[in-house]
Amino acid sequence: MRVPILKQSQYVIASIQSALSDEDLLQLRDDLAQTVGRYRSRGVIVDVTVLDVMDSFAVRTLRAIAHMIRLRGAETVIVGIQPEVAFAMVQLGLTLEDVTTALDLEEGLAHLERQTAAGAAHVK
């Protein structure tokens, strides 16, 4: 089940629609790498609102995605982690460490806007 990826101005939004198998997650990683490269996007949002479980593989892969996107000069924001999922992740000791998270799509985009503006202001 391929995750649809949408372009929104200089950002890219991957909106997960249903439970993902390991292969689907790895496919997402590859698709995002391609898309960010093609459009030279400044930021990526991965929306996990629909996911009812985030296990160790999902967390590892999301971190790998963020890392890979950072290498391409863009930032990743994971949005939509649900209360029960956040709780389970913490119980399991899974962290997204250095990956930015936000409540939802709106907050995620707002964060990317701020980062981009700050970045532009510092390029002097």
């Binding site: 439970a19 390991d22 296990d55 160790s56 649900q82 999922v85 389970a88 119980q91 399991l92």
Partner: protein, 146 residues
Amino acid sequence: MSSNRAPRRDEPGVVGEPAIAISSSGDIVIARQRGRSLAAGLGFSGSDLTLIATAISELARNIIEYATTGEVILGQAGKNGRPGIVIVARDEGPGIGDVAKALSAGYSTGQGLGLGLPGVRRLMDEFEIDSEPGHGTTVTVRKWLR
């Protein structure tokens, strides 16, 4: 709480469903979705459903990562009139040499043997593991309705 007692199929209080074969990552999703619906049928709350599904996911994932194939058995359990769910994750893989180390608790990953077992134990109410090098591993966990 953990012990090295091997759970038997004929254990009282376990109403079994057919075992779910685990050999590919798609099976992990199947196992946790079945677990979720069984638990929902028993009356578990939304957040407990997520804890249970996550525990199943991790246990199934361990099977694939360390033993390639195995099975997950879901069942209904009862204790003092309280219903609950029991999950058995069984494989014929290499087994765990140092069970104590695998269970060494910590709140950060990177401790233990990376199997996520302390985490699974935190998610559930009861946890038992039976593992011996060369003889496979069986993990049994239970969660009771609040």
